[in-house]
């Protein structure tokens, strides 16, 4: 078991270090969420009924954008697995004593860490825009937990798909297919109460919405800890499920070589 953690740690370091060598990737990771925040913040600021009880639309939007980034980042996490498959790095690990679980788990955890860093950045910027996390320190922790868990849920899913399709084009198509619908079926941009009835029902089972609700409770309401805690538990269970899915597809990959 300690071997799994040690190997996961080294592999997370490897991936993080490789990403830090991509200046464009870093720039996009920083600029894109800010762009969303400022763009949507301006676009919808004059429509008060969208705020869902927040004092400004930016306040309403901040936890949503945090979750949107986490979830988009997660859906693309499988691309790194495809690169490793294409470059035969995975096969090299498989012929060594490397922990099999660590090969998959490191991708998921790396996505979670990236999401937390982006969440911190977004919370910092929105603080400058006047947004306060009403839940205080606990509120910050809930937002960070929601973003990392959300990223891991979709990173597990994404890696599972990557190991099934093993091709970039198919991976991109899947990520796009999943991404936008799940975003609009959640309260990331608009309060749930503005949705048609059926969409509200669907949103209840959408992990993206669980994250968005938990984060929004922490920022806007500054309370509702029990429902938020439940959402986080749902996300934890979902992350465990999708990571298991990825390890299962990893075994399928192993059988295919």
């Amino acid at each position: 078991m300690t071997q799994v953690f040690r190997h996961t740690g080294w592999m997370v370091v490897r991936q993080a270090r490789n990403l830090m060598r991509e200046p464009i990737w870093i720039a996009m990771m920083v600029i894109q969420p800010l762009l969303w925040l400022l763009l949507y913040g301006q676009l919808f600021s004059k429509v008060p009924q969208l705020r869902g009880g927040a004092s400004s639309y930016v306040e309403f939007l901040t936890p949503g954008i945090v979750c949107m980034n986490a979830f988009f980042g997660g859906t693309w996490a499988g691309m790194a697995m495809i690169t490793d498959l294409d470059r035969h790095v995975v096969d090299r690990f498989l012929a060594s004593p490397a922990s099999r679980v660590a090969i998959v788990l490191s991708q998921v955890i790396r996505a979670g860490i990236t999401a937390v860093l982006q969440a911190l950045l977004l919370l910092g910027i929105s603080y400058a825009l006047g947004v306060r996390v009403h839940g205080g320190v606990a509120g910050w922790l809930v937002v960070l937990a929601a973003s990392s868990l959300l990223a891991m849920v979709f990173a597990g899913f994404s890696n599972g798909i990557a190991l099934l399709v093993r091709r970039e084009a198919s991976m991109i198509a899947t990520a796009n297919f999943v991404g936008l619908p799940l975003m609009f079926l959640s309260s990331i941009l608009l309060g749930v109460q503005t949705m048609p009835r059926w969409m509200q029902d669907v949103a209840r089972y959408n992990p993206v919405n669980w994250g968005a609700q938990a984060a929004r409770n922490a920022v806007v309401v500054g309370g509702a800890w029990w429902p938020s805690g439940q959402y986080l538990l749902f996300l934890l269970a979902a992350a465990a499920a999708t990571t298991s899915f990825a390890t299962w597809t990893f075994r399928a990959y192993q059988r295919s070589i």
């Binding site: 080294w10 490897r14 790095v89 096969d91 090299r92 690990f93 012929a95 192993q254």
Partner: protein, 338 residues
């Protein structure tokens, strides 16, 4: 002596011996392709062994079974004394694997690639750093050690692959098509590299190749693989002498029904085989044409034969392969490329 592979009969007795690798009747099927159809061979401790065959013959699949990447459908194999199916983790600790396709992490430096691989093999601290420095020097990457591997040439990546395979001082190193895709210069350099490694690191090396000259140059013994089977194994020089031989054609003038006697003369040459008559000529396979021709000529002339011409055909890859499989190597190689 050369030994034709005899499937499972190579079996149990040799698995128990000190063989670094023992493969016994391995079968593996991928959907509609029978990749391995009874592969058996054994590699002794400390030798460089070549698996030679055309593309698609089953060499890489054999290596994937021996490196625990894939399980055989049936048959047994042990590497460094460990069964590949029962104890894959022990095998993985004992082997280095340099795959046909480079496994280098492009975004990491040469040194980082080696450090991670070392850690996976439970090396750490100063001994690991020292080993990494040693290997970087050994494969001539000391100056490029801290550059990201993306910028390495094909030959440099290949050398880094080999260093990665050696970081934990494995007992057995697998080199799958080590020179495929390299230009002739880099190929020659790689041959020198492999020879040096075999000496300095006192390794057992299993290399696969579809270049006869590569097997000839590097391997002490080879197994020729065709369509998922080992058709023959032995020392390259023995294979050439015993299996390729050289075909000698003696064309005679005015033989008048004495062709039988001429055949006997040629057949009396030490090691001659497959003697047969074609029109006015006698053809035979002899181990060494240069030594056989003067003897044949003087004997025939002393008996009053009139020799029109003598020709010898040098052995080629096609000849060996053709001899054992009845198929042409180049055609098979092209077909196996897909």
């Amino acid at each position: 002596m050369t030994t034709a592979a005899r499937g499972s009969r190579i079996g149990v007795a040799r698995l128990a011996a000190v063989d670094a690798i023992a493969a016994d009747d391995l079968h593996k099927r991928y959907k509609d392709v029978q990749a391995l159809d009874g592969v058996s061979f054994d590699v002794r401790e400390g030798e460089v062994f070549g698996l030679l065959g055309p593309n698609g013959a089953g060499k890489s699949t054999t290596v994937r079974v021996l490196t625990t990447l894939t399980r055989p459908d049936s048959g047994r194999a042990s590497v460094a004394g460990h069964d590949v199916v029962a104890h894959p983790e022990r095998v993985r600790s004992a082997i280095g694997y340099v795959a046909q396709d480079s496994g280098v992490d492009w975004e990491a430096t040469g040194r980082e690639n080696l450090l991670l691989q070392g850690r996976i093999h439970a090396l750490a601290g100063a001994p690991l750093r020292a080993r990494v420095d040693e290997l970087l020097g050994l494969v001539g990457l000391a100056d490029a050690a801290d550059r990201v591997a993306r910028g390495y040439s094909g030959g440099m990546k290949r050398r880094l692959d080999i260093a990665i395979g050696l970081v934990h001082r494995p007992r057995v190193l697998f080199l799958d098509e080590p020179t495929t895709g390299l230009d002739p210069e880099a190929r020659a350099a790689m041959w020198v590299e492999v020879e040096r490694l075999a000496r300095q690191e006192s390794l057992t090396i299993l290399l696969t190749t579809h270049y006869l000259e590569e097997a000839d140059r590097l391997a002490e013994r080879v197994a020729i693989v065709s369509r998922g089977r080992v058709v023959v194994q032995g020392r390259p020089d023995e294979l050439k002498a015993g299996l390729h031989g050289e075909s000698v054609t003696v064309e005679l003038r005015d033989v008048d029904g004495r062709l039988g006697e001429a055949s006997q003369v040629v057949g009396a040459i030490d090691g001659a085989g497959e003697v047969h008559v074609e029109g006015q000529a006698v053809r035979a396979r002899v181990p060494d044409g240069a030594r056989a021709i003067p003897v044949i000529l003087s004997t025939l002339e002393s008996r009053g034969f009139s020799v029109a011409s003598v020709t010898t055909a040098r052995p080629s890859l096609d000849d060996v392969y053709l001899h054992y499989t009845g198929r042409e190597f180049a055609t098979e190689d092209e077909a196996g490329r897909e």
